[in-house]
Amino acid sequence: MLEALSLTKAYNGHTALNNLNLTVAAGEVFCLLGANGAGKTTTINLFLNFIPPTSGTAKVNGIDVASHPLESKRYLAYIPEQVMLYRNLTGIENLSYFTELAGCEKYSQAKLLDFLTAAGLQAEAADKRVGSYSKGMRQKVGIAIATARNAKALLLDEPTSGLDPKASNEFSELLKRLSGNGAAILMATHDLFRAKETGTRVGIMKHGNMVAHMKTEELGHADLERIYLEHMHD
C-alpha cells in the first residue's frame, strides 16, 4: 500500500506539492486528476524517490522511500506515460531483464510469454525487437513487468494517454485485475472517463494541493466532469 504523510515538495520557492496526505490501500485504484503542473507527476516521482521530498514522508508498504529507497522499490512497479524499453531487445528479453533486476525468481521462457500474452501482447510480437512496438504494445510489456514482479503497489503516470479507445479499455481491464489481486494502485490521468471506470477513488489536484477527493461509486460520469471543471475555474 501507498501512504503520503504531509508530503511537500518545493522548487526554489515554488511549491509543486503541498502537504499531501493520502493512503491507497491494497485493492484500491486511486486516480489523481488535475491540470498539467498540478503536482500529479511530482507525487509519483516522490514515491519513486526520483526526487527528495522537502518535508513529509512517502511510504510504500510501510517503508519510508527516502531513507530506504532500494527496499521500498521491491514492492513497487511503475508504468510511465511512455514505457521505454531496450529497443534492441525483444519483449521477452526486456521482461526477463526487468524482473530479474527486481530480484524476482528467474521465470522460464514459457512463463514469461504467459505474462506478456496475459497483458494482451500477441505471442508473435514477444520475440520481436521492442524498437518495432507501438506505444500500446510497450504499455502492455509494462503491465507484464508489473504483474511478473507481483508488485504490491503500482504507480502509473498517464499510462493511457495517446492509446486508442480499445487499447485503453484493455489497459483498464488489466488494472482491475491487478487491483483485484491486491495491488494498491496510484494513477495520474487526464482521462475522467477512465478514472470513473477503473478508479475506486479520485482526487482532484490544483497548484500542488489536493482540493477534492471522493469515491467513484458515489458519482456519475457527468458529476465527475462537473466537479472537476468547477475546481478548474480560478
Binding site: N45, L48, F50, I51, P69, L70, E71, K73, R74, L76, A77, Y78, P80, Q82, V83, M84, L85, Y86, R87, N88, L89, E93, Y97, F98, E100, L101, A102, G103, R129, G142, I145, R149, L155
Partner: protein, 479 residues
C-alpha cells in the same frame, strides 16, 4: 546484479554497429602499432648484428695483417700498422658498445628511434663517442612512431569515451533509466554494471590483441623479466583505462545531456593528453633551458683548438707529471707521437668536462622537474610506465650511457699505456682487447619504477571513480 546489468548491456549494445566499428578500429590500430614496433626492433637487431659482423671482420683482418707484417710479407706505414696500439686503439680495432632491444621493445618504440643504441668506442676523448645529444623530454616526443604505446595513450581514451560518454545520460534520454530505477537498483550499481561490461570488452580486446600481436611479431615471453614486465604493462593499461571510464562516470553524474557530455569529455581528453604534456614541456624548458647544442660544439672546438695550439707547453707539463713516460731522446717518432696524443686527449677531456657537466646538470634538472609533475596527467604517467617496461625510455638509455662510458675508460686504460710504450701488438693481444658486455637493467628496478607509476595511476583512477559514484547520488533522474 552487476553481472545482470553488464549482461543486459552487452545484449543491448551488440546489436549496435558502433561497437563493431570500434572493435575493428582497435584491432587494426593495435596490430598496426605492434607491427610497426616489431619492424623497428628488427631493424635495430640487424644494425647491431651488422656492427658486430664489421667488428669481427676488422679484427680478423688485423690478426691477418699482424701475421703478414711479422712475416715480412707486408710493411704497412705506422698509422695503419695493425701491430701499432695507436692505429688499433683509434681506428682499426675499435669495438662497438651496443644496447640490444629489451624483450618488450616492440610494444613501444618510445625514444629509441631518436637516441643512439650503439657507439663505436675508440681511445679518443669521450665526447667524440657519446655525441651528447639532448635528452628530449619524453612528453615532447609523444608524436613519435605509431606504436602500441601510442594507441594506448591516445586512442584508447577516445575509444573508451566513445562507448561511455552517454553511459547514464543515454538511458535517461531513451527513457529506460526511469524504468530501471523503479526496480531496487541504485544508480551507482547501474553505472558500475555498465562500466564493467564496457571495460571488460575494451580491455579484453586490447589485451588479447596486444599479446597476440606481440607473439606474432616474435616477442619472447620466456626472456628474463619479460613476463612480469608484460603483466605490469597490462596493469598500467587497465589503470589508465579505468581512469577514463571514471571520468565518463563523473561527467555523466553532472546530469547534462549526452551531447554536452561528449563535448566535455573530448575537452578533458585534450587537456590530459595534449595540453598538460605540452605546457609541462614548455614550462620545463623555460625553467631549465639547456644550452644550445651549437654552443656546446663551439665550446668543444675551442677547447680542441686551444689544446692543439698549446701542445708543446702541454706536452712539457704532461712529462713533468709523468716523467716515467718521457720517451728517450733516441725514441722513435711513433712513441713521441703516441705520448703527445694521450696527453692531448687527457687535456681535452679535462677542459670539456665543465661544459658536459653543465649540460648534464640542466638535463637532469629538466628530468627531475618532469618526474615531479608527471602526476598531473595520467597520460604522462602511463607513457613513463610503458616506455620503462619496454626499455625504450630515458632510464635504460642512461644505463647504457653509463656502461658505455665505463667501457670507454676501460678501453683507454688498456690501450694508452701500450701506445706510450710503443708495444707491438701480437694476435693474442688483439684477443685481449676489452670486450663489451651489455648488462640488462635490473628487472626489479624497472618494475619498481613502473610499479610506482602504475600505483599512482590506479589511485587516481580509484579517486575519480569514487568522486563519480558520490556525484551520481545527486543525479537528477527526472527533469
Amino acid at each position: 546484479m552487476l553481472f545482470l546489468i553488464a549482461k543486459n548491456d552487452w545484449r543491448n549494445i551488440r546489436a549496435d554497429r558502433t561497437l563493431w566499428a570500434i572493435a575493428l578500429l582497435l584491432t587494426t590500430t593495435i596490430l598496426y602499432g605492434v607491427h610497426n614496433g616489431a619492424s623497428w626492433v628488427d631493424f635495430q637487431k640487424r644494425t647491431i648484428q651488422g656492427a658486430l659482423a664489421d667488428e669481427a671482420e676488422r679484427h680478423a683482418a688485423i690478426k691477418q695483417g699482424i701475421e703478414d707484417a711479422n712475416a715480412g710479407r707486408t710493411s704497412p706505414p705506422s698509422w695503419k700498422d695493425p701491430r701499432s696500439p695507436y692505429a688499433v686503439g683509434y681506428r682499426l680495432g675499435s669495438r662497438f658498445a651496443t644496447m640490444p632491444p629489451a624483450p618488450l621493445a616492440a610494444l613501444a618504440v618510445g625514444q629509441s628511434d631518436l637516441l643512439p643504441y650503439y657507439f663505436r668506442v675508440t681511445v679518443n676523448s669521450r665526447d667524440t663517442m657519446l655525441g651528447n645529444d639532448e635528452l628530449e623530454n619524453p612528453v615532447h616526443l609523444l608524436s613519435g612512431r605509431f606504436d602500441l604505446a601510442f594507441v594506448i595513450i591516445y586512442l584508447f581514451p577516445l575509444v573508451i569515451l566513445a562507448v561511455s560518454y552517454n553511459l547514464i545520460s543515454g538511458d535517461k534520454e531513451d527513457g529506460t533509466l526511469a524504468l530501471t530505477l523503479s526496480t531496487p537498483v541504485s544508480l551507482p550499481s547501474l553505472a558500475m554494471g555498465k562500466i564493467a561490461f564496457r571495460a571488460a570488452f575494451v580491455l579484453t580486446l586490447g589485451a588479447v590483441l596486444s599479446v597476440a600481436g606481440a607473439l606474432l611479431s616474435g616477442i619472447d615471453l620466456s626472456a628474463p623479466g619479460a613476463a612480469p614486465r608484460l603483466l605490469l604493462w597490462m596493469g598500467a593499461v587497465a589503470a589508465y583505462s579505468i581512469f577514463w571510464f571514471g571520468l565518463a562516470v563523473l561527467i555523466n553524474a553532472m546530469g547534462r545531456n549526452s551531447a554536452t557530455n561528449a563535448l566535455a569529455l573530448s575537452g578533458l581528453w585534450l587537456v590530459f593528453v595534449l595540453l598538460i604534456p605540452s605546457l609541462l614541456n614548455v614550462g620545463i624548458k623555460t625553467a631549465h633551458p639547456v644550452p644550445s647544442r651549437v654552443e656546446m660544439i663551439q665550446a668543444m672546438r675551442h677547447a680542441s683548438d686551444a689544446v692543439t695550439a698549446e701542445r708543446s707547453r702541454l706536452m712539457a707539463e704532461f712529462l713533468e707529471d709523468h716523467p716515467e713516460l718521457a720517451p728517450a731522446a733516441s725514441a722513435d717518432t711513433n712513441a713521441q707521437f703516441a705520448v703527445r696524443s694521450v696527453a692531448m686527449t687527457e687535456e681535452l677531456e679535462r677542459r670539456i668536462q665543465p661544459v658536459l657537466d653543465e649540460f648534464d646538470k640542466r638535463i637532469s634538472r629538466q628530468q627531475q622537474l618532469a618526474d615531479q609533475y608527471r602526476f598531473l596527467s595520467p597520460a604522462i604517467l602511463t607513457q613513463a610506465a610503458l616506455y620503462d617496461l619496454a626499455g625504450t625510455g630515458v632510464h635504460r638509455y642512461k644505463h647504457f650511457l653509463n656502461l658505455a662510458a665505463n667501457y670507454h675508460q676501460q678501453w683507454q686504460a688498456h690501450i694508452q699505456p701500450k701506445m706510450m710504450q710503443t708495444v707491438k701488438l701480437s694476435t693474442a693481444s688483439i684477443d685481449e682487447l676489452p670486450r663489451w658486455h651489455w648488462q640488462e637493467e635490473d628487472t626489479a628496478d624497472v618494475l619498481g619504477r613502473a610499479g610506482t607509476h602504475t600505483a599512482a595511476l590506479a589511485l587516481t583512477a580509484a579517486f575519480v571513480i569514487a568522486i563519480g559514484v558520490l556525484a551520481l547520488r545527486r543525479f537528477p533522474v527526472v527533469g
